[in-house]
């Protein structure tokens, strides 16, 4: 394994993949929170013609000009999208899908134009479709580092305004922030992240690198800072893991492996995260249901009756449900079977009501006294 890690190509792959993971994780966190997840998809597809234009201008597979071209057409497509939605009846979804597919079509046309004229020098342009990590050279890493550096610096410098704009755009506008310009800047920075990843992940799948780490981190964190940091870490994890797998198993494109790893991380987060995770939430509901005894529900009815100074006070079942945060029907039925409560008469358009019986009142009072003795005055 040490020999493997010292391998020059693998070093490049892991460095590049970590870079992509961090940058797309950081900006993806904002994209997911601002409901702009699919912007990355459109930007990535629309970057393909730019890749070809950059290649044609440089006359060779030169990363600097290819990334410059990709950035240019990505941002141009974003501006067209804004123009379409602002000035016509078209909604954002149609504008996104139109620019994504037209951009990709232009890219395909340019790609075949180069291929049928270029001879051998066009080798490697195809790898921008699905990404080819093993083709990454040390020279490719420098423009990636520069772009990632610019985007991260931008996020750090604009942290406060970006945060405000993400959570409360209306308030941000009222306080005099140039919200429109900030939005354009953020879009440009997402484009930077997308362009950084084109070489390794490819135009088709870069969207997943923007969305999956952000969506995963959202499940674990309640604060923006925590979410951005975790998103970067998870993105880097998926990038390095996928890069390694595809570099070691020739024939596997890098992009799909990275994307499947990132999706797996997102799914695990959805299921397992302690507060928002689906399994912990299900467990808590189950736990609460089995641990809320019939006595506690009887107690609720008793307390309500005491508050109203009426032993025959009728309590709506919905109110008991809401108070305990669960369906209390089974417990109430048990209490009714034990003769402690009875269903009360109610109007036809009202929910079901319950009231205590005399035994019920005695039972609840005894229970309350027992609790007071055990827990002191607090209960």
């Amino acid at each position: 394994m040490p020999g493997l890690l010292a391998d020059y190509t693998l070093q490049n792959v892991m460095l590049g993949a970590a870079l992509i993971g961090v940058i797309s994780g950081v900006l993806g966190a904002f994209a997911v929170l601002r409901r702009q997840s699919l912007l990355g998809d459109a930007l990535a597809h629309a970057a393909l013609p730019g890749v070809c234009i950059g290649f044609m201008m440089a006359g060779a597979r030169e990363m600097g000009s290819i990334m410059g071209g990709a950035l240019f057409t990505g941002v141009a497509a974003a501006l067209l999208m804004v123009a379409l939605t602002r000035n016509t009846r078209l909604k954002m979804d149609a504008a996104l899908a139109a620019m994504l597919s037209l951009g990709f079509a232009l890219g395909v046309v340019l790609l075949t134009w180069i291929q049928r004229r270029g001879g051998a020098s066009q080798a490697g342009l195809d790898s921008f479709l699905f990404g080819q990590a093993a083709a990454t050279t040390r020279a490719d890493l420098y423009p990636m580092m520069i772009l990632a550096g610019i985007a991260l610096l931008g996020v750090a410098l604009l942290w406060k305004p970006l945060k405000l704009m993400t959570f409360d755009p209306d308030f941000a506008a009222v306080t005099g922030l140039p919200v429109q310009w900030l939005e354009r800047l953020l879009t440009a920075m997402i484009a930077l992240a997308v362009v950084t990843g084109l070489q390794m992940v490819g135009v088709v799948l870069m969207t997943a690198m923007i969305i999956a780490p952000g969506a995963a981190a959202r499940q674990w964190c309640g604060s923006l800072l925590g979410m951005v940091v975790l998103s970067a870490v998870l993105g880097a994890l998926a990038g390095v893991g996928g890069g390694l797998v595809s570099a070691l198993a020739p024939g596997l494109s890098t992009g799909p492996v990275v994307v499947l790893l990132a999706t797996l991380i997102a799914l695990l987060s959805l299921l397992l995260a302690p507060r928002r995770g689906l399994i912990p939430a299900w467990w808590r509901r189950r736990h609460r249901r089995s641990h809320t005894s019939t006595d506690r529900i009887l107690q609720t009815l008793y307390e309500l009756a005491r508050e109203h100074g009426d032993w025959r006070y009728r309590v709506e079942q919905g109110a008991v449900d809401a108070y305990h945060g669960m369906i209390t029907e089974p417990q109430l039925s048990t209490l009714a079977d034990r003769g402690l409560v009875v269903p009360a008469q109610h109007m036809p358009d009202e929910g079901r009501h319950w009231q205590l019986t005399e035994t019920g009142v005695a039972h609840a009072a005894e229970y309350a006294q027992r609790r007071r003795r055990r827990f002191g005055n607090g209960a």
Partner: protein
């Protein structure tokens, strides 16, 4: 080499069939604000195509098309399920589901199916230039297989839209009213998207899964800018899509570039023209309304 198997005729007719059937179904998608589902479906069918290929050794044929179309429906179902957990917004759910299914498809092809008929580039870009090579004989006439598949899908799509036109219209513009009238908009939605998946599978030979999105979204979006009636919007979208095929073919022939790419790209100028016309009309109206008012202020 005459008739439908003639290369030029085969390429043009197949391209037009793809455009017409995609924009017919796409019109309702654009109106409902679900255009990105076209993106999700057409990427996700790759998983189904790869699986169908692994199981049957074929990528065309009714069973394969129906089977592969299921993965498009699966994508829609997964997106809805993820959204319903309320842990993710719908845009993030779309962006999480289709890249995963697409990646799974690419990896299946990478690992099992290194083959001339099915590699990930063909799936992505299509090869309409070769549709005339693969023909079947139908009643004594030689018909390209892809063209036949597209024609069958177009008939199915048209039959669905004609039979359920009223219900589709209501489910698109007022799903609540449709539900109240007992029209099951959810069911109509799923049938509509199943047909879209099937059409995408039939079209992938010709234009690939990404270029298919162009025909689903761009002609209907263009028509939406030009008319306010649903029926004329659909007809106009189908005409624009059909016109894009010969236009793109001419450009591809002239510049020697991808035919499918050029056909898809040819829908773009129409959108730009429609946008320009809208802007010009808005400017005219603004000038007519207030003589001294500057046009940009009311745009």
């Amino acid at each position: 080499m005459t008739g439908l198997a003639d290369p030029t005729v085969a390429i043009l007719l197949t391209g037009m069939l793809v455009g017409v059937s995609a924009s017919l179904l796409g019109s309702f998608l654009v109106l409902r604000g679900n255009s990105m589902l076209a993106d999700a479906i057409s990427h996700s069918i790759l998983f189904g195509i790869a699986l169908a290929w692994l199981l049957t050794g074929q990528t065309s044929g009714p069973v394969q098309i129906a089977g592969a179309a299921l993965s498009g429906v699966l994508a829609v179902y997964l997106i809805e399920t993820l959204t319903r957990t309320r842990r993710l917004r719908d845009d993030a759910a779309i962006g999480l589901v289709f890249p995963a299914l697409f990646s799974a498809g690419v990896i299946l092809i990478n690992v099992f199916a290194r083959d001339v008929h099915l590699d990930e580039h063909t799936v992505l870009l299509g090869e309409i230039g070769f549709v005339w090579l693969d023909t079947v004989t139908l009643g004594g006439i030689e018909v390209p297989r892809a063209m036949l598949a597209m024609a069958v899908m177009l008939v199915l799509d048209a039959a669905f839209v004609l039979a359920f036109y009223k219900a589709l219209k209501l489910a698109t513009f007022d799903p609540d009213l449709a539900r109240a009238l007992g029209l099951a908009p959810g069911l109509i939605f799923y049938v509509h998207l199943s047909l879209l998946s099937g059409t995408a599978v039939a079209a992938f030979d010709a234009v690939g899964v990404v270029l298919f999105i162009t025909f689903v979204v761009v002609p209907p979006a263009t028509a939406y800018l030009l008319t306010r009636r649903l029926s004329s919007m659909i007809v106009l979208a189908m005409i624009l899509a059909a016109a894009s095929a010969p236009l793109g073919y001419a450009v591809a022939f002239w510049l020697d570039v991808s035919i499918g790419g050029a056909m898809a790209l040819a829908t773009g100028p129409f959108l730009l023209l429609a946008y320009g016309w809208r802007r010009w009309r808005a400017w005219q109206q603004a000038r007519a309304a207030g003589g001294l008012q500057s046009p940009s202020a009311s745009a």
